[in-house]
Symmetry: C2
């Protein structure tokens, strides 16, 4: 991987920063956040501005360019990758390390007095704007909204915004009609005396209307906004997408069942002026809900006295708790996904000794096998297929120039997942096709102990996921080891593979309590730089638990694994496992064999079935 | 315990709320926070305003009185106690429960439009003022500073503010001179370009000057403020206290070694006007450090552009990391404390069957035995001596009208501690002097497992204590049990028994990372309302750990128990313990026997020594 040469680009950007065509005065620094106008984590090519200017294409990162410096903040998953993708013009700011300054502190330390710091108000979230604004102001600088995006100004061949075909989902996939979702939303609005709700997150809008798109790779969403009032629904989207009769029928565009369920459609771009018009007509007591992570541009349209910012919208919370239909779909999707992976691993076991399998061909094979499964739509994120030292690059993605061959001498880590119409998957397995070293086994076993500690944890109703994070680390910590990422994220149902408002991470405090029906990943790891990486990831469903007692009638919860792919016994040092942990592994493997075995048999995939049976032998 | 009758008092308070003598317009609600002008947790009798108006005397709680309602917010430790101490005029707001509204939300729900909510600006912390101000403003109400305290206005016989004799501590107890502490503070100020520092927390001022007082029961502090500039030190205190020649010598009041270490003394009350004078003379770049938990009144004297609020002051952070002399003192104090407790328990074992020991007499005996130890000053908090159902009242304090007799049929919980000149102790043991039930043993054992899980945890340098809280709960959670308080708090060295900025609690996110030299308590519990309470508390020292590996050279930490009092084996269901847990108990008891046994022998306390030997037999 050779870094992107950015000298000339940065020169042009710095010229634009001084050009009063874009802002009345020159600006001394320009912030380029990751993300788009919807604060999406994964973004369309037209929105990959931070990658364009720096070369760094990880899913999280913020660039800041001043007259003298260019700096990139990203987290532990991407330290190695960012270092490899960026040239010497860039300084990597390793988030999470004690010595790394915050963006604010760094800006204050490098800027001349009374500096202006520019940012595109559509790309920066309102809460980030607020914090940055405050910090800069208190140090005598100012944060200014530059309406024209300065990266676009130096990006001649920037791609078009995508407008893919929409797909409507019936009740057999969603469990709840969009009309019922609107009614529930309005009930919550009226409970909190809210008159308007502005939805800006793409997955929330897709979930609300039971629609899916393909505007962003891996994320079945589409560019849109929605404003819901107590009697009106405004839907902002490229109108060409609504011409299909079936789509018009799904949305009841031509014959709404009730007037308050009639959807008014508007072009995507008109959300700003339409929201302005709504706000101009607000009564003195009218309140508008908008997520505090929505764009600064749209948030500031709403007068402060009418604005009611919330950390998580009712759509976000509603979407997180899966209904019975969605849970059933997620289970089906994970069985199909396990079938594909069992086939992959059986194939790898056979092929690797021949020396013909590479990181890329293994990833391609995984995709090919998944695509044979019913209702396959695409991958849910770029497959991380990594051998040996590449495994330590936490979000590694094999490229032709980095592609390594799988051998019987190195650890192989594959983190992959798919979108099926009935659900989204995300699974990581770490395997050795020869004889792992004692140290590799030891680390794998600590990671497994952490994975089990979370998966088998019983905890009271109302517990926030971040309180479980240390369980995943305890065994590693005891040996002086750790990993620099969170332990789990929410997973959508045929939606984004990362979603809020729950997760399992020491980095957050504002996550919502776990509830039965929520779905998160459980993925501790260990990364030995330059040598190997280990991660073990299942997607797990929050389910009620029934322990012996029930303190204050609070009830208890635990997790049920949805992912049903064997965990390689060869990588375990079973002596380090407690009896309880061995029982967990055996019970998990029993379920894999029973559930996935039946499906492999039904699909007539004999070799994979044999592999599954071999890999799910009892451990003692 | 019969509740305080508050009808007439509330009537008078509501009259004062309408009286324009106190504020230009009537106020519709009045907030009575716990605490004094220094935001102390434990307070002097003259500052017990919340207790005076409500009857509830727990260490934490906020009262709000409106024209119609009187409500009290407190946490899980105090639910039972508050219910018993307050009459029907009061509504208990159980903090930490999902259905309990915040103070802001509750006010907004009960107040008529455009209400005024009053509070004494000296008693409310600046950060609380800010949050409350914001929440009320956004709902159309206003928060107003009422300079005269309205409780004082209806409290005819309010006690005087205490002014006890000061005690100076030499280097043999403090390890660092106050002059060196000032120099270190100024180095931190100049590093952050701060020109002034305002100290308002009483324990920080006591620590800084190596002085102790007795103004607040159990807390060896004295009423004072300090303002430190780069060349000046202003000390605000009742000047009568500085007349003693030894005190003048300690503070070098008459012959300072260097001009910048010369202390200017001022009356306690003049801090406001003196800070005003300092602020009037500030240069454009001058910055003033003040804790964001300092009083709103004093904080607002500093113009916003010059104010640099910090969550924890350098004194708070410096005080938290104990130096070698302080650690040695804390160890000595805990050995002496263990001697007293071994004697107490040996005595209880002998006396309880006679039926003459009550909660109060047991607590008195504990105090008597402690007072026989060298450099004993007093208790560090009111002894919680509780039998059977009283044990479930987490901060129970026996009173003549509640006093129960200790028997061989009920669980006995004693949470007690002392101030010695060399250190502060805080220890809880739960015992049964007959035959505990299987359920009592089961619960005790889960609590013990939690205690050990924290105490034996190994974790990376830089870990915040709140990330360890779930370790203490895991065994309880697994059986559907829990406890509604945090797991640990910082402990001062001959200072407050509760101190920041570290602790072990799921409720915080803003604690500072644990560092070697910090001292915290480890005290999980289980409370069966109406039946019994269990808590196991040791004070533990953060020490470096040396696990097998050292990931990224971060280093690891663990805890060393300073408390060395046997944990009753009779209460354990040893079958529920793992081998590792049994090893921990045996090693802990070995150390108790070795260290405390030697001291018991030295002091010739034979019966206690025999008890210690019996209680520290190996478990298998």
């Amino acid at each position: 991987m050779s870094p992107k040469i950015t000298g000339e680009l940065l020169r042009q950007l710095r010229q634009a920063m001084k050009n009063c065509k874009y802002f009345s005065e020159p600006i001394q620094a320009y912030i380029i956040p990751s993300g788009d106008a919807h604060q999406s984590e994964y973004i369309a090519p037209c929105d990959c501005r931070r990658e364009f200017i720096s070369g760094f294409d990880g899913s999280a990162g913020t660039a800041i360019v001043t007259e003298q410096h260019a700096a990139m903040w990203t987290d532990g998953r991407y330290f190695l990758q960012a270092n490899q993708q960026m040239d010497n013009n860039w300084t990597l700011m390793k988030m999470g390390l004690k010595e790394t300054p915050s963006q604010e502190d760094w800006l204050i330390s490098v800027l001349p007095e009374n500096s202006k710091v520019g940012v595109d108000p559509w790309i920066i979230a309102a809460d980030q704007w607020k914090n940055m604004f405050k910090a800069l102001s208190s140090a005598g600088h100012s944060l200014v909204a530059v309406q024209d995006n300065l990266i676009d100004a130096v990006w001649p061949d920037r791609p078009e915004r995508p407008s893919t075909q929409l797909r409507s989902l019936g009740l057999d996939f969603t469990g709840i009609s969009w009309q019922d979702k609107i009614t529930t939303l309005r009930a919550k609005m009226s409970e909190r005396k809210i008159t308007w709700f502005v939805a800006t997150a793409l997955d929330e809008i897709a979930w609300l209307f039971n629609l899916r798109g393909a505007d962003i790779e891996y994320n079945p969403v589409f560019f849109a906004y929605t404003i819901v009032g107590m009697n009106t629904i405004r839907f902002f989207v490229d109108l060409k997408r609504l011409s299909d009769p079936a789509m018009r029928e799904h949305l009841q565009l031509d014959s709404p069942s009730k007037p308050e369920l009639s959807i008014q459609t508007f072009p995507y771009e008109s959300v700003y002026t339409e929201l302005q018009a709504i706000c101009a007509a607000l009564g003195p007591k009218d309140k508008v809900w908008i997520c505090d992570k929505a764009s600064c541009a749209l948030t500031q349209v709403i007068p402060k006295t009418h604005r009611s910012p919330i950390p998580y919208t009712p759509l976000c919370l509603g979407k997180a708790v899966k209904n019975a239909t969605e849970i059933q779909g997620m289970k089906m999707a994970h069985i199909k996904d396990a079938v594909a992976l069992c086939e992959l691993f059986a194939w790898l076991e056979k092929e690797i000794p021949n020396g013909n399998v590479t990181e890329i061909s293994a990833a391609d094979k995984a995709e090919e096998l998944r695509s044979q499964q019913k209702d396959f739509v695409g991958l849910s994120f770029p497959t991380i297929s990594s051998v040996g030292p590449h495994g330590a690059i936490i979000h590694y993605r094999p490229l032709p120039e980095t592609n390594r061959t799988l051998t019987v001498n190195e650890v192989y880590l594959i983190d992959s997942g798919a979108q099926y119409v009935d659900g989204t998957t995300d699974v990581t397995r770490t395997m050795h096709f020869g004889t792992p070293s004692a140290f590799e086994k030891e680390c794998f076993t600590y990671v497994l102990k952490g994975h089990i500690a979370v998966s088998a944890a019983i905890f009271p109703n109302g517990t926030k996921g971040h309180l479980l994070d240390s369980f995943a680390r305890s065994a590693l910590w005891e040996s002086g080891l750790d990993y620099l990422h969170g332990t789990g994220h929410g997973v959508g149902c045929f939606l984004n593979v990362h979603e809020g408002p729950c997760g399992i991470s020491y980095k957050t405090f504002a996550d919502e309590p776990l509830e039965a029906g929520m779905i998160v990943s459980d993925e501790p790891g260990y990364y030995e730089d330059g040598s190997f990486g280990i991660r073990l990831e299942n997607v797990v469903l929050v389910v009620p638990a029934k322990p012996k007692y029930n303190y204050r009638n609070r009830g208890s919860l635990t997790f049920e694994p949805l992912t049903l792919v064997p965990i390689q016994v060869k990588m375990m040092n079973t002596e380090l496992l407690t009896q309880k942990e061995r029982d967990w592994v055996n019970e998990y493997h029993r379920k894999c064999r029973e559930v996935v075995g039946a499906e492999l048999e039904r699909q007539g995939r004999q070799e994979a079935l044999e592999w599954l049976i071999r890999e799910t032998q009892l451990i003692i």
